[in-house]
Symmetry: C2
Subunit: 187 residues, 2 copies
């Protein structure tokens, strides 16, 4: 699984073997079963997660108890309650497995040590952060400009592999529509 991390990083910056050894020493591997939580609302967020295999949902629960899916994450994606991770506060979201999932865990100390110890890794995280921002901005534009049907079609086009794996009820919670509305939209 460390080779998968290396291939992922090397899409942005090339690493020597000794550099990658330094990088890999900052990660811890963990496995979770479907329905297990990596992050629970109200608890400390220890890690930023690089996903080796599986599927996760990042969920925000509103005051009425309704669940909203902020994002999905699968192979080669990074996920966390990033605000709570980065600011070292307690989680306002939960991160739950929709499938059995394997991850590599990076602590905030580890994140900082990688940035301090190897400028290439700071470059890597800068690229990731910029693309994370752009992805979120694209979703905002999608909300501003599109109705539920169009948002569904955009998602289908952008992440066809994801749509196959995510239960319809979860897709509805991501798109901000009811399960019934989604049924009318999807073939």
């Amino acid at each position: 699984m460390y080779e998968q991390l290396r291939a992922h990083i090397e899409k942005i910056v090339e690493l020597t073997d000794s550099e990658f050894l330094f990088v890999s020493e900052h990660f811890v591997a963990k496995k979770f079963k479907k329905h297990q939580f990596l992050i629970q609302e109200g608890e400390q967020v220890k890690y930023h997660y690089f996903i080796i295999s599986g599927l996760l949902k990042l969920v925000y629960t509103d005051d009425t108890g309704k669940q909203h899916i902020v994002s999905f994450a699968m192979e080669d994606w990074w996920e966390s309650d990033f605000y709570a991770f980065y600011m070292q506060t307690t989680a306002t979201m939960s991160l739950e497995c929709l499938e059995d999932t394997e991850v590599l865990c990076l602590s905030l100390d580890g994140y900082k040590a990688l940035c301090d110890g190897l400028q290439k890794m700071e470059r890597f995280f800068l690229e990731k952060a910029n693309f994370g921002f752009l992805g979120a901005q694209r979703r905002i534009i999608s909300w501003l400009t599109s109705n539920a049907k169009e948002r569904y079609e955009q998602l289908l086009k952008q992440y066809p592999a994801l749509i196959q794996r995510v239960p319809k009820s979860q897709l509805a919670a991501y798109l901000g529509v009811s399960r019934e509305t989604l049924s009318r939209l999807s073939p």
Copy 2:
């Protein structure tokens, strides 16, 4: 105005005088009048802008010609059509002055030279990118969980100074509601 840039950067990383001289050499100062465009849809995006004074709107125009405000930007904020800037493609959004505006302009070559030449600046941009992502994520959560009235109240609470300066018609285009709906929401 360069002192304002320095104070802004030094909230995150401290710079020596010679380091700041190196940084400042990569910026060009420009002034724009209210209603002028810094970025026009379809054109090349040369710069990422640090705003010294004034107020701007980043606008996405949909297929029907309707304008949606993706973000506002004022003193000490950075703004651009960042995807087009970063990927060196043509703009899909426009950036227009709502007030007379002074900016410091950074080209992509300048951005890369700062990251390559001074690791502190890569750290600075990483922090900015992470907070940019978190701000966008917060807005997504706001869309998922709140109605227009709640989104208006959140905005009022988060950016009271901004709300004073932005015309109501523009606020409506940011919140994704009609001017009439906004009138009912605001006191």
